[in-house]
Symmetry: C2
Subunit: 172 residues, 2 copies
Amino acid sequence: MLGKREVTVHGTNGIGGRERGRNGEGLASSIDFGPLAHWVGFNLRMAQEAAFQAFSRRSQDVGESPGRFATLTLIARNPGISQTELSHANGRDKSSLTPVVEDLVRRGLVERKRMNSDRRTYRLNLTPAGKKVLTMMTRCARRHERNLDYVIGVRDRKRFIQILKKIAAEIE
Amino acid sequence: MLGKREVTVHGTNGIGGRERGRNGEGLASSIDFGPLAHWVGFNLRMAQEAAFQAFSRRSQDVGESPGRFATLTLIARNPGISQTELSHANGRDKSSLTPVVEDLVRRGLVERKRMNSDRRTYRLNLTPAGKKVLTMMTRCARRHERNLDYVIGVRDRKRFIQILKKIAAEIE
DNA sequence: AGCTTATAGTTTGACATCAAACTAAACGCC
DNA sequence: GGCGTTTAGTTTGATGTCAAACTATAAGCT
């Protein structure tokens, strides 16, 4: 049943009713995804991208970039966390974190202290302002999640997340 | 059972057995992911990232970047496709495609002809060399998929992909 | 103590990506 | 036929990311 089906990549179907010339084997608007249609990797990327875009639009309402959200949450739940720990938890290289933390500190959302016992590492904590922003972002994220739940369906949700975790933890 | 569990973000657990100072509420090496642990968006990102990294390593064996793979497949399955159609099918902005196609043409994997009926659009097709490269990449991708299947389990695989497709198509 | 190695964070350079501005061609309408 | 609008693709500028090189501290060994 799959294999020749159109997947309607972007909801609005930006491809439109265009007709490729006769060299193009005369498909109308539907694209043949070939093996991609059956493969986890491709569909994982497309789903992630779509979900990210949706969340991105939402988080503009609170004036924050979506990437900041996980960062703030992790600092809130693990007060005093170091940047390296944070970057691992967040699945990003520590060097990517440098400008993010810099920005959060500059805007007064995060506080950063050198440790006395090991003066290489910083300890990160949320400021009250940071907590306030996080609260707003969390509300925003909950709306997003409710939306995702609606698409996934409560029945499969738990298993779905379990599989995602398993992939993140066990692949390769 | 969730909520305080460690997810072992990166296999090797780079976080190690470090102890945060007393300001840090004394967690040892385990990170509290808070609500992130239950949320689809975060886990989707982590899974995608992990799968992508794994595939990236694999595709180095055939000397191709992972992003080229979907592009070549889509051209192969839809001969004469235009760049705009391709970018939509691939879930990327058309402007991102310009350098990719340029590179593929330069390396003789893709052939690109102006249409006579509409001289704005190009038609893309694989060259024989492109087909050969695609064959190798496909083998490589199949190994990757087998790996993913192993993690996901055959029982849930079909449903899992269905949900991913549903998210890509229906979110927001 | 002094040397070697490991670790925390930053810097730098390469890329991929998007969005918006742009160019050229086509379409549509009068 | 000419003029405004749409469309295909490119260019440009901003961002976010990684990996590798770097700086500074720390830890271990002899």
